[in-house]
Structure formats: C-alpha cells, structure tokens
Symmetry: C2
Subunit: 232 residues, 2 copies
C-alpha cells in the first residue's frame, strides 16, 4: 500500500497546486487502510483531521436514537470528507464507515491548519469546496421538506443519468445504479419498501425500465413533471 499522488493532485482541492505546495501537503498525509464495514469515525467524537479517498467507498451517515440510518453522502476515489470539522474545531457531526475495503489519506487538523495559514490559496480552494457542499446540503433540506418521495427519487435518477460520463446524445438516458436499492432508500430518506413500490409504479407507467442494475429513462418529461411535484 502506498500513496497514489495522482489521485490527490487531480482532486479539486489540490488541482491548482504547484510542486512545492503539493510537497508540503504530501508531508502531512498518513495513509490509513480500513476494511469493509469498519467505522472511520463516530458522531460527537472529537474531530482531529479529515480524509481523502485513494481507493474504495465510504458512507457518511446519521443515526437516530432508535438506530435508523440516513446516508448523508457516499464518497469515492478522490473525494474528501470531514474537512469542515477541521475548522470548526469541534466534533464530527456524523458517522463514517467504509462500504468497501478502502485506503484513505488522513490529514491531521493541527498540521493542516498550520499549512493553510501559510498558504492562502489553500484556504480559498477549501472555501470553494465547502461552499459547494453547503449548496448541496441546502438542496437536500429542500428536497426532504418540500418534496415527496417520488419527486426525490425522480430527481436522483435524473441527476445520475445526466452526470458527465453518461451519454446525453443517446435517445434514452440511462444510468447505472451506484449502490444497492436499500442504500438508495436510506440516501433518499425513505425505506426500501417504499422505493420498490415507486420504482414499480414508474415501470408500469413506462417512464423507466430496468435491466441488470441499469435504469433506462423512457419519458424524461414525465420524470421532470414528477420532480416538479406532479403526483405519480
């Protein structure tokens, strides 16, 4: 196991760094290997640093008192998480565990803060990254409180299908399900049963179809209507 620099130098956090700055960042990194299912950190634990993924996938999630789980986000190669806790100087606001065996680059708070103070560009990159994530969270709040489950699912499907990398020129948009349906349900703040029912209804209405873990979107306009609140 060793550091794969390319992955990190391509990340939006470090992409504009010159060799000198990058060397200083690199010096901070501790590589950490975690196994599938392993807890990386827990809510309310004192935050000591943040992570960037070299290989594998990690989920960041909240637990309710009775054990119900809501996945806030799933991170994969090149993405970083828990960076906010470095600056708030407090506790982790959520839990993180590995979905697959993973290798993580760990950046300790104190040394990283030191670096930021000496390199204002880093601060601006991080501000930009945090701002974008905040924008995302605001949208999550909107969807949870203002939209019903069909709308949230429709948006999820549409967003995934229009990601760069999926061919938009095709007659029908298509997406690969990035996680199990149970996980998607937790991500959308609902249950697998409800998700299954709504997917079933969409299939019956021929809005979508499914074929070995891939969803085909047949009626993009109908999907848009549902996102806008049109009842299914």
């Amino acid at each position: 196991m060793e550091l794969n620099e390319q992955i990190f130098r391509k990340s939006h956090l470090f992409q504009d760094f010159n060799d000198k700055d990058w060397d200083r960042v690199k010096a901070l990194i501790h590589l950490v290997k975690v196994q599938k299912g392993e807890i990386i950190f827990s809510e309310d634990e004192k935050a000591h640093g943040f992570y960037m993924i070299q290989t594998g996938r990690v989920k960041v999630f909240k637990l309710s008192p009775d054990g119900k789980e809501h996945i806030l986000r799933i991170f994969s190669k090149g993405e970083h998480f828990a960076e906010a806790s470095v600056f708030s100087g407090g506790k982790f606001p959520a839990n993180a565990s590995a979905l697959t065996d993973s290798t993580l680059a760990y950046f300790p708070s104190t040394r990283f803060l030191h670096l930021v103070k000496e390199t204002p560009e880093i601060a601006l990159f991080m501000l930009s990254a945090l701002s974008r994530y905040m924008h995302h969270l605001v949208n999550v709040v909107e969807e949870l409180s203002l939209k019903n489950v069909p709308a949230r699912l429709a948006k999820f499907l549409f967003d995934r299908a229009t990601l760069p990398g999926n061919f938009a020129q095709e007659r029908h948009r298509e997406l690969k399900l990035p996680m199990t349906k149970s996980e998607i349900a937790l991500y959308l703040g609902t249950t697998s049963e409800t998700l299954s029912r709504i997917l079933g209804k969409m299939k019956r209405l021929k809005i979508i179809s499914e074929k070995n873990k891939r969803i085909l979107i047949h009626k993009e306009d109908a999907l848009q209507e549902i996102i806008r609140g049109q009842k299914l």
Copy 2:
C-alpha cells in the same frame, strides 16, 4: 441611515481585526435598506456578494414548485448570510427576504475575495463560520429525515431554552419565542396547524406552559424523551 461600525467589529468574522484591516473591510461595504417583506435575493440568481445585518431580521428560505416555504434560518443583528455563494462563485441556493425593515451591509464578491487573498485570517474565520453552518445543516437534514415533528419541536424548544443568556440555574427552563408560531412551523418544516396541535398536547401533559410569548419547560426529562423519539 449610517454605518454602525460597532456591530460589525463585534461579529466573529471581524472581531480580531486591527484598525488597519477593519478600514479595508469598511471600504467595501455598501449599506442597503430593505423594507419588511422585500426580497433581498432569489434562488438561482447570480450571486454577487454577501450580507451582514446592522438592524432588522432576515429569513433565508426555499420554495417548492407549488409555493410551499421552508425557512432554512432566520438571521438578525451582526449575523451574515450568503457568504458561501461568494466562494462557490455560482448562484444563490435559496431566497432571502426581510422579516422587518432592515439595514444590511453588503459586501461585493470580487472586492471581498481580493481582500481575503491578502488577509489569511479572514479566510480562516470564514472557513470556521461555514463549517459551523454546515454542521448545522447536517443536523437539519438529520432531523428532517429521522425525526417526527414533536421531536423537532422539542429539540427546538430545548435548544432555545439552553442558549447562553437564558438562566440555566432557574428551576424551570424558559424561553422567549423568537418568531411567530407560523414562522417556527416553517422553520421546522411543518405547518402552523400541526405546531399548534403539538404545543397544545404538550401543555395538556403539563410538559410546558405558555405565558405571553414565553414558554416554560416544566418537565425537561419528558422533553428529552420526545427528542429521542418517544411518542407524544
């Protein structure tokens, strides 16, 4: 109408600034007067700067396609909002309007970014502020998806009652309602009718009582149980 410097110099964003740095910040400010109900900015409008409140109260909210509103947060004197959009360089993620006649200090993005580049301390303060707000948003997401309305209300009451400034040594915790009940309902992602019913139930169970816009908490433990998911 003129700039009240003290309010801003006491804010956590600028509190550690010396006179020279503050003068540079001050030079950026445009004072803006808005009337009750006036829109300050709208979602998806190009973000051009951020605001800090000199007097008055402002709500930041999301609208669903059919006009339903969810208040993300209410800001008052000395607080700043929309700072994230400065760094993401994109659009406002939500709407803002004045709850009362207000005077706002407006900081244009480009000039402020310039300042940040030259003053690393500001960057750190902003990182810290954004991190805390993100922490808050993550909690909002948790509550919306994992907790029912009674739990969200109970947490709201408890948090308000334990704010520094409210006397914790009193036998019964107490809080002043910071906004109308309708606004609280929107803030909690529910309706005024539902809020009214739940408050009524809590009063009937003698968990709380209300007396001219103030809530008295009689059974703190019961409130905690409700936060933890105990049914009302």
